[in-house]
Subunit: 308 residues, 2 copies
């Protein structure tokens, strides 16, 4: 792969926003005359697969390592720990994101982040700014990303802007948000093909703070009990990860998309931080976190605040 | 001052872009219904004074310290070393910038940076995006910032976009870019009222890399000889700064805006980095750097690369 062709990708353990925003951003770049290609850093999850099948399109190519000097555009992430392994030697041209920011680069680049629910919401505005057409397929991708990241507008990360843009996109995509969105989210809760090791890695993110390393993994479910009947297998898989990656904390959250709660398993030397952060008592390494559904807004900041 | 009213400011040792972009951004926020006020972190330079007099407007209020929890918007900078002293305890809501990026925040914010010559160029696009009117005064401020930062389009930091937007702004401002711009830059070269200590601090920026601290100061001149006749006084002032701030390197650049060169004085334990970075030999702590005018593009990256 030429290092001059810009690769566009989102975070490891890609979710629907990461995959869709990579494709949508690469298309914008190509429309503006910059040669770009969407790629991915990990396996496609069931929810994303639903969108790809719906649109009858291929998943972006899987990339495991970048050449030194490779031109890249990051979407839906900015932290090196969540990016390609040798991101430090790549040439980051642009970042389009909606997360907390922990980034450093020695020359000016294009960096655009907004505190909205989804990268695709920012991309919608960039299409508008550059007067680039949003086709039916592009609209469906953007809409799927917004529905996924905002849990069909129910997450506290969802802003009025996300919802308004999603409604415009639904018209272009010719779908009913509620029907399409419910089918999409339901597809993401299907864990039947996965081993416990795979389930905890469907959507896990690594964070660092003051030398401490921790992971927060999250899955969506419509049935917490069916997830937790495999608790002992998850715990074994989590303990393996903790040992392998030298983690101080691992929090695995199963988010009930019907009732908007999350039940967590926490392990590691710093597992008690969850008690402090949420005022709960861990029962056999688990706790129910009422009204907590967003890793970005309700999990990560609380953990960062209370970790010492 | 209420911590709820958002303060908008640029870097310490403010230049024309910093002051104008603070006012222009505060106006945009107010137009969009967010209560904001432009302030400044240091003295107004002669060039900026020229614009304020031309428009018959007051300089933003000088602010020395922020209250904890103060809502702020940063323009024209992002690094804590160049910002208000207790920026770590402020609530940064937005950043609009065009510099290298070294920034960290634990919750998502609005961050918009583009690799263009001037913050005002980015602000122009934000006005357009939000469909906010660019009045004659606002246009003059934006135009002055672009002319200042790009040395009337001669700096390598100047992009086609800066120039195209400056031309549109000149029409709204009802000025001739060449005439107004030359007068503006000339006003900035007037150092007659300053002591050597003040001259080296007109536009100096502090940087850090791997525990090393260095400053790069820059002034514009149309007459290098008249600046360098005071060399020994500058050296004394620079050595005082080095001692006071524990610096490893101080580079003072006098940029000849007619011939597009910079003559530098470098002092400190790491002063030899300049020889390595530019392939020059220091002669009594000075060197002429041919075709070097931009701190951001031609000084800072070279120093960062060669400092070990």
């Amino acid at each position: 792969m030429s290092i001059n062709k810009t690769l566009v990708f989102g975070h490891k353990n890609p979710d629907t926003d990461t995959i869709m925003s990579s494709i949508v951003m690469a298309n914008l770049e190509n429309q503006l005359g910059n040669s770009a290609k969407a790629v991915r850093l990990g396996n496609i999850n069931k929810e994303t697969e639903y969108v790809l099948n719906y649109l009858n399109i291929e998943a972006p190519e899987l990339v495991s390592a970048l050449e030194d000097g490779q031109n890249v555009i990051l979407v839906d992430h900015n932290e090196a720990t969540q990016s390609a392994d040798n991101i430090a030697n790549a040439n980051v041209q642009k970042v389009v994101d909606h997360h907390a920011l922990n980034f450093s680069v020695s020359t000016p680049i294009y960096y655009r982040a907004e505190p909205v629910g989804c990268t695709a919401t920012v991309l919608y505005k960039m299409y508008k700014e550059h007067d680039v057409e949003i086709t039916k397929n592009i609209a469906t991708m953007m809409l799927s990303a917004i529905i996924s990241d905002t849990l069909l507008f129910k997450s506290p990360t969802c802003t009025a802007e996300d919802k308004a843009i999603a409604e415009k996109l639904a018209k272009i995509a010719e779908v009913d948000c509620g029907i399409y969105g419910t089918d999409l989210l339901k597809a993401g809760t299907d864990l039947s093909d996965y081993t416990p090791e795979q389930i905890i890695n469907i959507d896990s993110k690594l964070f660092e703070k003051d030398g401490k390393k921790f992971k927060i993994a999250q899955i969506n479910t419509a049935d917490l009990d069916s997830v937790f009947k495999n608790k002992v297998y998850f715990e074994a898989a989590i303990n393996d990860e903790i040992k392998k990656d030298n983690l101080d904390l691992y929090m695995f959250a199963a988010t009930d998309i019907i009732n908007s709660n999350s039940k967590v398993i926490t392990l590691g030397n710093d597992s008690k931080v969850v008690e402090k952060a949420y005022g709960v008592t861990l029962d056999d390494n688990t706790a129910l976190l009422e009204n907590v559904v967003s890793r970005k807004k309700q999990m990560l900041p609380k953990i960062l605040e209370n970790l010492d």
